[in-house]
């Protein structure tokens, strides 16, 4: 797999590590135990286009949000993940 890092350009898979589904957002402080449980444990486990967190740890150390198809491994977009992982209070 090759990932086009928005900062570094196209790079080899080995420079990246995978975290998982980028859809669940970290509940804001004060969330119920159920909400946090859902965030930590339950997954859509999508067969098809999925949004994911990857870390360019072997490069510029940016966390990325990548749209990738889990059936074909085709990547349709890569963007910085800055700020997309958590719900803010009141949001």
């Amino acid at each position: 797999m090759r990932i086009v890092c928005p900062f570094c350009g196209e790079r080899e898979l080995g420079e990246f590590t995978y975290l998982g589904d980028a859809k669940p957002a970290r509940p804001a402080a004060g969330a119920t135990e159920n909400e946090v449980f859902d965030y930590v444990y339950l997954r859509d486990n999508v067969a098809g286009p999925m949004s994911e967190f990857w870390y360019h740890g072997g490069g510029c150390r940016a966390w990325l949000k990548i749209a990738r198809n889990t059936l074909t491994h085709e990547i349709s977009s890569v963007e910085p993940a800055a700020g997309v992982g958590a719900r803010q209070v009141g949001a």
């Binding site: 900062f7 570094c8 350009g9 790079r11 080899e12 080995g14 420079e15 740890g57 072997g58 490069g59 510029c60 150390r61 940016a62 910085p80």
Partner: protein, 209 residues
């Protein structure tokens, strides 16, 4: 009370043996030069202050800090892109060491001294690309990686900063590798193994290319 000497040692001091190594008979295909005793400062923009940082860099160095994977050479330093809104300042002689730079970027940047955290190895010679092809997954074709290109990448599963400096007087490309100090000896041996078939000329220097 004892008198202490504070002898600085480079991470490659033990492993590096000046001279020829590997295949003999023809001119060495690869030159490996360790550059010692440099200052290296990581400069990162504070949140929302990338533009301000760039301005401060321009004030300090007379050129814009690289905003894309480039290495910019000025009279007394090289600015090497190392990630979004961050760059490395490489120099020697202390002019741009951590303290003077901290003042220059006090409002806009966070700085970390990396002068001791890395070893700097310069790779050149006719087979420079051939040996780097064994170490790096990057495309170093002159069209894809012209002089002045920089990359934050990995060699042997270890993070490195790689940039292409000015060509040698004989026209050969020069690739510079900043590797983590504690990995340096191990990587050095890997590099020698990769280069052995081409013949290697090994030296060290305090001159920044």
């Amino acid at each position: 009370m004892a008198e202490f000497s504070w002898i600085a040692r480079s991470p490659l001091e033990h492993a590096l043996v000046v001279g020829a190594c590997g295949a003999r008979g023809t001119a060495a295909g690869v030159s490996l030069t360790e550059i010692r005793n440099f200052d290296l400062i990581q400069v990162m923009a504070r949140r929302g202050k990338a533009a301000e940082l760039a301005k401060a860099a321009e004030t300090r160095f007379g050129v814009a800090a690289p905003g894309t994977p480039k290495a910019v050479r000025v009279a007394d330093a090289t600015l090497i892109w190392s990630g979004p809104d961050q760059f490395l300042v490489l120099c020697n002689g202390g002019k741009h060491a951590i303290e003077p730079l901290s003042q220059a970027f006090a409002q806009s940047g966070s700085l970390s001294d990396q002068s001791d955290a890395r070893a700097l190895i310069s790779v050149s010679g006719e087979k420079a690309r051939a040996i780097l092809a064994k170490l790096s997954s990057l495309d170093l074709h002159p069209a894809a990686f012209p002089a002045g290109t920089a990359a934050a990448t990995s060699v042997d599963h270890t993070s490195v900063n790689l940039w292409r400096g000015n060509d040698r007087p004989d026209g050969q490309a020069v690739f510079n590798l900043l590797v983590f100090a504690t990995f340096a000896e191990s990587l050095w041996h890997t590099m020698l193994d990769a280069a052995a078939e081409y013949g290697v000329d090994i030296r060290h220097s305090e001159e920044l290319g």
